[in-house]
Structure formats: structure tokens, C-alpha cells
Point group: C2
Chain length 672, copies 2
Amino acid sequence: MKPIEGRKRIVIEHVRPSVNCGRYPIKCVLGDSVEITAAIFGDGHDHVAARLLYRHASQRKWQTANFTELPNDMWAATLSLGEPNETDKLGAWSFTIEAWVDHFDTWTHDLAKRLAAQAESSQDIPLALRIGANHVDAAASRAKGADAKKLNLAATKFRALADSNLSFYDSPIQDELVALVAKYPDLSFSTKHTPELSIWVDRERAVFSSWYELFPRSASAVAGQHGTLRDVADRIPEIAGMGFDVLYMPPIHPIGVAYRKGPNNSVTAKAGDVGSPWAIGAAEGGHTAILPELGTFEDFDQMMKVAAANSIDIALDIAFQCSPDHPWVTEHPSWFIHRPDGTIQYAENPPKKYQDIYPLNFESPDWRGLWDALYGVFKFWSDRGVRVFRVDNPHTKALPFWEWCIAEVLKHAPDTIFLAEAFTRPHVMYALAKGGFTQSYTYFTWRNTKAELVDYFTEICNAPVSDFFRPNVWPNTPDILHAQFQVEDLAQRRAIFRQRVILAATLSSNYGIYGPAYELLEGRAATPSTGKSSSEEYLDSEKYQIREWDRSDPNSIAPLIASLNHIRRENLALQRNEKLHFHTVSNDNLLAYSKSSRDDSNVILTVVNLDPSGEQTGWLDLSMPALGLPWIGSYDVEDLLTGAVYHWKDQWAYVALSPEATAHVFRIHPAL
Amino acid sequence: MKPIEGRKRIVIEHVRPSVNCGRYPIKCVLGDSVEITAAIFGDGHDHVAARLLYRHASQRKWQTANFTELPNDMWAATLSLGEPNETDKLGAWSFTIEAWVDHFDTWTHDLAKRLAAQAESSQDIPLALRIGANHVDAAASRAKGADAKKLNLAATKFRALADSNLSFYDSPIQDELVALVAKYPDLSFSTKHTPELSIWVDRERAVFSSWYELFPRSASAVAGQHGTLRDVADRIPEIAGMGFDVLYMPPIHPIGVAYRKGPNNSVTAKAGDVGSPWAIGAAEGGHTAILPELGTFEDFDQMMKVAAANSIDIALDIAFQCSPDHPWVTEHPSWFIHRPDGTIQYAENPPKKYQDIYPLNFESPDWRGLWDALYGVFKFWSDRGVRVFRVDNPHTKALPFWEWCIAEVLKHAPDTIFLAEAFTRPHVMYALAKGGFTQSYTYFTWRNTKAELVDYFTEICNAPVSDFFRPNVWPNTPDILHAQFQVEDLAQRRAIFRQRVILAATLSSNYGIYGPAYELLEGRAATPSTGKSSSEEYLDSEKYQIREWDRSDPNSIAPLIASLNHIRRENLALQRNEKLHFHTVSNDNLLAYSKSSRDDSNVILTVVNLDPSGEQTGWLDLSMPALGLPWIGSYDVEDLLTGAVYHWKDQWAYVALSPEATAHVFRIHPAL
């Protein structure tokens, strides 16, 4: 069957960026610009013209941007996504490409060739001028008012020139005329790319954020006392002072009594044991209630106010699972799996059992009711002002649910950030990001050698992954005390804690730590590591008990962390990941990488000693273009951690780093 | 908005092979099998099952094939495309993937873990057995007859075992039961991949063919006489004897008189000059007429018969352009571009003019009529039995036209082969192949150094290009006498002609030569090459005059060509491109590559001396797995060009090749 219009001669393909052939949006933030590339071509020798069409979901009319032709039929255009403060431009954008045969452009180039050859053959020029006059008249018929008049006049001039019978013709084509004709393209047979592609535009914090996690119940200033949301509010200025902008708390809901876990994950709890905050739900309520020991909704609102005053986002932990005491267990039995003996299926990984947790059944006949209730949890806290959610184990809930639920939340609050805590296989982690999660936990914790770090960050900081996946890297979490940290020797422990937080804060624009365990160098594991096996569980984990932390410990690395966060705020280079470049160093214990701001005006070169037990030295072999520097010449590097300035020349530089020094975070100052 | 069924928990993505996200079909031949891979995964720890669904366009019911799970959520299945002689299975096939959560499989694996741990915790096993019984009963409800009974019986046994209160349980799961349950999967919440993907299935010659091009007007056995189709028929046995299976002739239609070109492309023809066969159309007719000097339709039909008897396909040259004398010029003026002076626009590349040629206007208001007429040309010759078309400059005709036209022709004759003669930019060449062209001319002629050949064949013989693009490589064409061949010295000229045809015949399963110019080493250019510029036009080109060829010339390399074609027929390895592997050689003038049959039973290793003027020696560093050989051990290599057999050991082998010897074409014989 013939197409409706067979004269659409242009093909548009390989449009980038796009995720799964346009099935999912790419991710950007407000004020960003994206380079769109595509292969655009037609048959024959006719010239092609193309434009980018784009709009925010609230706009009916397309905005346009021009394409530049690159070699080999590739084209590029820049799409600008609003201004940084234009919050009504958050959310869904779409774009497509329109391209057409540009007969006038073909003609001007042919005429130039004719004029260049007129010494040998000038007889065709008058006829060529008449053809051009027809093109210009056609443009005039698409124009209006003054433009139309100008175009008609130009056509008349072309014809007069054709009649003049000269022996030598100067070119009658001026830039102004070319621009005027281009303003009124003939789109009768233009091709529009299908499908339209989509972009999700978040606020800045989606791509640049520094997270601090703490257990509210350990936040009391009074030893032995259950911390409250008021205590958390009191701690906020200090956390903001350390430079963090997201404060994340494990679930704050009532905790189940049935099968409650005791300290160190013991199967039976004693009276007064506080249980795990992830065993959600009790007589006092479920996911929309607050554990009475933590306080009231008034306390919550007050904490939100203090947070806002300190430019901090409060991140709630959404863990969709229920303790046996959760109201849903009795109100909605069909949301759970029932066993042949009539009991409800608890979480298990045979032969391990987690009887304090009931998973939800996403194959429930009442899946619609379940989805609505889960969405309702987000809506409830969103209505109370929460704009950041850390989602617990999203990979154990149905993927189509997340795609729907996140879209629903964002409809009301497009400034919401969702962090996916999925430590699972790559495809599943990426599917969650494609389906809507703003940020994602990563394998960073287990990428420790130079080769591992280079491979992993190369994968996640480049297309296609970076089109949809935003890493948020954590040296530790309440679930993960990596074996690296389980070191008795204080100096060595301090070195590794310093190293990992420097890596996190300079490799990834989003990072976080679980504190005060981190800054206080907590390295004691529930089961000490052996050569054969290692436990990543903390000893006396806050997951099961209240902890008291001595934040005045002189060994605390809080000052380093504050310094890193300050450096991140001052340097645009560290606020994005797309210009991460690894440099060659002649030592596998030294890792060197640079990041640059989009305009290359800010460049940070970080060199890290990966060995916490000894000095490492080596020669940097810098890729100068990645630093925005010429191959030959001198420049200054300023260590932002120490203030030291070094004068370097060309691509080779010698570095020596002790475990105590750990790293250089250099700002590059090109020679004036 | 919620999906219609929210319980479809499986994601299927990255399905390969697919062309432009499924917009175009992949290409295969009858009897082939294709490996389909995809990422298939769901949430959580539930096991996944998947099957491939596929069918020929004539079939309503899907056939199924099983998937194998690979690491990291990747899956693979093999799709078999009919039997080699099942011609009713030519044409369009489609496939998709269906995947679902396999609760029974999850359960069997969990049970195995429970049984393994029963020494510590056996109390859950009876309940687990009852859950399994429910799964088996559910399968029974989807089954019928004996299978249903067997399944119900198994469920009953599970329950009896659950009641038995043993202290130790043996596994009740047998392979037969697993297979029986798998036969009746629960597809209630299965995911089907969209869109369905398509495969175009051609006959074998689409992928393995040897083309010989000749000008019929030079085919007369009588000196000075205009050759005829009867003369061509007489030559067919000899051409078949050389091992060719496609005989391709430039256009056989009436040739225009207006602006006819004389010998060596002179602008004015003298009386008796025969003109260019590509200036199509005269008083005698256009694209569906035969030049009277060549004969009648009876002669044509007789030639077709002789060709068929010799297992040769006749390939016609379809050049959609008109001489000023073509009937369409007066019958359908709207199919051409008219200039302001009322004349029709001839072909030109300012300031060059080709006044003997009128291009067609694909932006004609009567584009539908034009498309129908062009299609009518194919249909006309197809109805006369032609099944191979070489299409002249398809890249100067609208791309949507080709996609429609080729599909229409294939509807009637799915065994038709279209060769695209497009020497243009890569995206356009690839777009033509995607749009339906069976085979494509390539840049082979201009890929002469080792690095150029390795890069180019690596690109075109691997996915994604090889999914839709089938190279047909030509050392020469009537338009292209590469500067390499323009050598006075006979020995050197013979060496380069030998080299290029050996490369063509062993690198690509489709190749062709323009003869007898090729085998007779015609190297004279219209304008002799200088260091600065080179002409690729032949002196006394057959495009403009009749030539007489002395096929008894003792320097003819026809015996080599016959030998190459014989080797190609005897060795499956040379009949496909997908297992082409380049091997390392310690000399840039030696090129070594192997090809293997799909089952690796036939392996050909070719080593070519790229220097036509001197001996080259070097050490092969063979990648043994690519040869189907172990890294350590001895084997025989048999030079199929000379019959010599060498006994080799391990990966290193020394080779020395004179320009006269040119190449080894080794068959690998593994040690018994």
C-alpha cells in the first residue's frame, strides 16, 4: 500500500538520546540543555534542512531550535529546558525532529558553482536565475506583510538580472535573503520523526545532592533516651553546617510487636527492645502513622519547617512491607499471600525466615486497591510537604506499579525525588530508573580497586546508562559495613573512611553517608570478617537498638566531610557526572580523574591513594584536552583540601600521597 | 492511568536482532536459523520462563521455541526458518517473545533448599509440599486427558507425603513432572513483547552468489558485429562453466538518439555510434522494450531458457531515467521537472551536463502514477521470468518509493533479488538495504590496504549492519577501473587482478566482476592516472561502443576465477559472512582471514599478498578458536588453489607469497 504522501523524501533515524526506542523518557534538570543528534538524509543530491520541535507538557505550540549539519548525514541541535528557577517547567517535555528537502538551498549552491564556472559556460545562468526567482516567489507566498514584499522584490531583481544579458554575473545572493527564505520553509513534504520522544525534567537536587542518613531514635541529646523528631530538628543546623542538603531517616512509623527482633538481630526481643523500623505497622497505625515515641504530626511539621529553613530536604523511607500487626493485614487480607494452612506467608529466603515481615502480593486480585493504597502513602506524606522519598527494596515490588505510582505522585508534585534502594542485577536496577526513579543506589560500595572503579563509573556516567540512571553513591548504609572498613588499626581505618568518602563526593554528584557511624569511623561488624567470609552487618546495629554517638570524638572526620561538601558547592564540575574523565597514572594504587563543568570553566582533578596502609607515588599522564588545557604549557593546581598550590607543566606530574593525606582535590587554574 | 492488567510483572527488552527498533525486517535465507536474544526479568526473586513465538506470514498459529537463560537476565532462543527447499516459506516472517513468572519453578528451587537444610529445620516441609500440590493442581486444570490425570496424581502424592510426618524427606520432584507442568504454563499474567519483529526470508542466492557482468552488444562471435541476446545465450554455458550463477547485463532497452554520446563519452555521436545503454528510451519504446539490434522477446525468452538450464539467473539492469526520446517524456510530462523556459531539466552537476538523460521527478503531483509505472517495469520483466534486478543509482530516487515498490514485487515473486548500485554515503546505502534491497554494492573497490579491508569488512559483516545489509563486492565495474589496475607491467597487472578477485571471492559470499575486461586484465584508462588525479573510466569503454575481446589470450585469469568459484561451491565457509575472522600477521602487506561454516565443520583460511610487485613473508599468529582448533596441537592446511598440503603446529605459521602466487586459500583439516 502506498503511503498517504509519497513525496516525503527525508529519513530521520538514530535519534539520541532516547531510552528503549523512546519507550521511557530521558532525564534532565531544569535549566539544562541537551544535545540531540540524529541521522537525517534523503535521496539524491538535494540539500536537507531540519529543525528540532520541543515543548513542555503545559504548552501546545512547539518551540523550535536549529540543527547543525555534522559529517556523514549526522545533525545536532541543542534543546534548552527552561531556566533554573522556572518551576512551572518541571516535569514532562517532549521533542521530535522535522526535516525537509530545501530546494532553495540546493539552488544557491548550484548557482555558486555555475558562477564559479561562468568563464567556460555562462549561458545557463539567466535560466538558473529565473528558477531561483520562482523559489523566492514561493517563499513569498508563504510569508506575510513586509517579508512577503521583500521576497517578491528579490525575485523581481533576479529576473531583471536574468534579462540583463551580462558577460559576467556577480552573485545576487545575500545572507539576509537566505535568512528570509529560510524563515518560510516549504514544509509540504516534510518528515516528522515518530514517536515523539520524552524528557523528564527534575529540579537541580535530582542531580546534585548530598545525603545524610540518621536514626531519629538515636538523636536524643540525653544519653539512654529515645530520640524524637524534635531532637532531629535540633540536629538539623549541624547537619546543614556539614554541607548536607538531604536528611534521610529510616521509617518513622509504628513498629510491629509480633516476632519483633532484639539487638543484633536476635530472634526474640526483650521488653523495651525497640525493634526494626522496617517492621512497619502496629495497633497505632501503618505507613501513614508516626511511632508515638518519635512524636506527633505537629513535631513532624515543626521538623519540616526547620529543615526548610536550613535548605534541607527531609527524605522519608518508604518500605512497602508490613509487620503482622499492620492494620492492612486484617483490613485487606487479599493483599497478602495465604498458605494452605491459613497463615500468611512471611518473607523468607529458605531456609532463612523473616517472620516479622509480610511481603505484599502484587498478584492480588485486588491489585488496583493495593496500588491505590500504596500511592496513598506517597500522597499522604507529599501533602505534608515531603519531596524526597528513599524507597526500600523497590525491586521486590512489581515494575509496572512503580511506573504508574511515580507518575501519579509527580503529577501533583513534579519536584519530588525518588531514590531507589535496589541492590540487585543491573537490568532490574536500570528498569527501575527507566520507570521513574530519580536516583539509584549503586554497586559503589563493592567497587574498590582502580580497575573496578574505572569500569563502573565509565559505565554509569556515559550514555546510554546516564540518559536515565542517576547514581547516588554511598560508602556505607545501615545494612552495609564493607569489609574494608572492618579494621582495628585506627590510622588505617581513618584512612579508608577518608578515602571512600572522598571518592564518593568527587566521583558522583549525588552521594550520601550513614552517620554518625561514618564520620565516627564505626567499623565493628556483627560477625568479624575472616579470610573466608565477611559479614556486612554492624555490631550493635541501630537497625535493632538505640545507639549513642560521641560526636566530639577528635578522630571524627566530620571536618573533612564538611570540607568536601563545601568544595562540591563551590565547584560546578562536581555537580554533574557527564564530564568525568579518568587519567592514566603509573601506579594501580593511585586513581586520578577529572570532572569539568559543561562550559569547561571549572575543572577539578582528583587523585586518590587507594592504599590505606602506605604512601603511594606515581606519575600522572594527564589527558590535557579533558582538563581544557593545551598539551604544552604551564598551569597551576590548587589543592582545595589543603590550600597548597603547585605549578605544573605539560601532561606529566609527580604525586606522592600518604594514607593520612589520602587525596588531592585539585582545582585547575589555566595560565593567564 | 493504570494498565489494564497490572499483574504482568515481566519486562522484555533489548530484543536482538532488530533493525531501527523493529521498523525494518532483518534479513535471512530459507533454511537458516537465527539466534534471538533479549533481556527478560521481573521483580523480586520469582523465577521467569519465556518462549519465542514465530510464524510465516501464511500461518495464523505461532510456532514456539524455548529460551535458554544466560547470565545477567539475558536469554537466547533459536528460530529456524523453514527447510532450504520449502519455497512457500519465503518472504515475511514475524516473531515476538512471551514471558511470565514461573511460580512452580520458583517453588521447586525453594523446596530443594528446604530439603538441603532439613537437618536444621524440617518443620516447614509439609506446608511447602502442600503449596507445591496446589501449583501442580493448577497445571492440571490447564491440561487435558492423561496429562491432567498424571498431574492430579502427582498433587495427591505431594499431599500424602506432607501427611506422612517423616523425619527425613527425599525430593518428590522428578524431571518428568517438571516437564509436564512446564507444558501447561500459567500465562494469565504473561507479557508479550511489542512490537512484533519481522524477518525477510530470501532464497539462498540472496546470500551466496557469483555475478558476471557483460555487454550483450559485445557478445557476438563475429568481429565487428552487434551482439544479440542469442549470442548471450551461446555464451552462457562458458560463463556457467566458470562457476558464475548470475549473469547481469546493462540495460537492454532502446537507446535515445537525442544528445547520444559517442565513443569515449564524446558529446557528439557519429552515425552508427551505438550510444549508452543507460540513455533509455526511443521511438521503439522505453523500459519494457528491447533494443531491436539485440533481438526480440522470443530471443529474450530463449536466452532465459538457456540460463535456467545452466542454473544461471539473468539479472536485468533497472535504471529509472529517460532519454529525451523516451515515450514517457511526451506521455507523462508531469513526471519530469520543467524549467521556466519550458524545457525539461536534464541531469546535471553544475557545471557538468548530462543532456542525454532526464531524471524523474519524485515530487511530481502524479507521483502515484509514476510509482505505478516504475513498479510496472519490474512487474513486466518479473512476469517474463526475471528474478534478479540490479538497480542503477537507487539513491537518486525517493526512498519511500523503493520500500513500497520492492514490497509489491516481492508479493508476487518473493524469490526476487534486488541489488542496489548505490555508491554514496553510508546512511543512504544502509537505508536502501533496510528498505528492501536484497544485496548492495560496497566501497570494496576503494578499500585496498590491510587496515582499510579489516575495518570495512568488520563493519559490514557484523551486527547491526549485517542484520540488514548484504555486501556484493566488485573489483571492477564498467564505471570503475580503480587506479590500482592501471598498470603497464603485465606481471604486476596480472598480480593485482588476481589479488582483487581472490579477495572478493573469499571475503564476501556475494561478489561479481565485469568481464571479459576483468579476466583479460583490461587496465587502460580513458585518462591516464597521474600522481595528482586519476580517472576510473575505461579507455574505449563499452558504455559507449562495441568491444571485441580475445578470450583465448593466454594471460587470461579465467582459470583462476573458475577455480575460485569451484572452491566457493565446495566450501560452506565461503557461502556466508558472519564467521569472518581476521588473524594477526607480522606484515602489513599480508592479510589473513578465516571463514567458517555455521557448524564449524568447514573452515577456510585465506592469506593474501597485498603487494603486486614483490614477495612478502611473515608469521601468522592464528586465533585458534576461530579455526575450530585447540591452542596446542598439529593440523593440516590444504591450499585449494595449488593442492599443496602443509603440516602445521599450534598458532604460529610462516608464510611466503610471491606476487604470482598471490594467495593461499587453505582448507583447515584438524588432526584426527
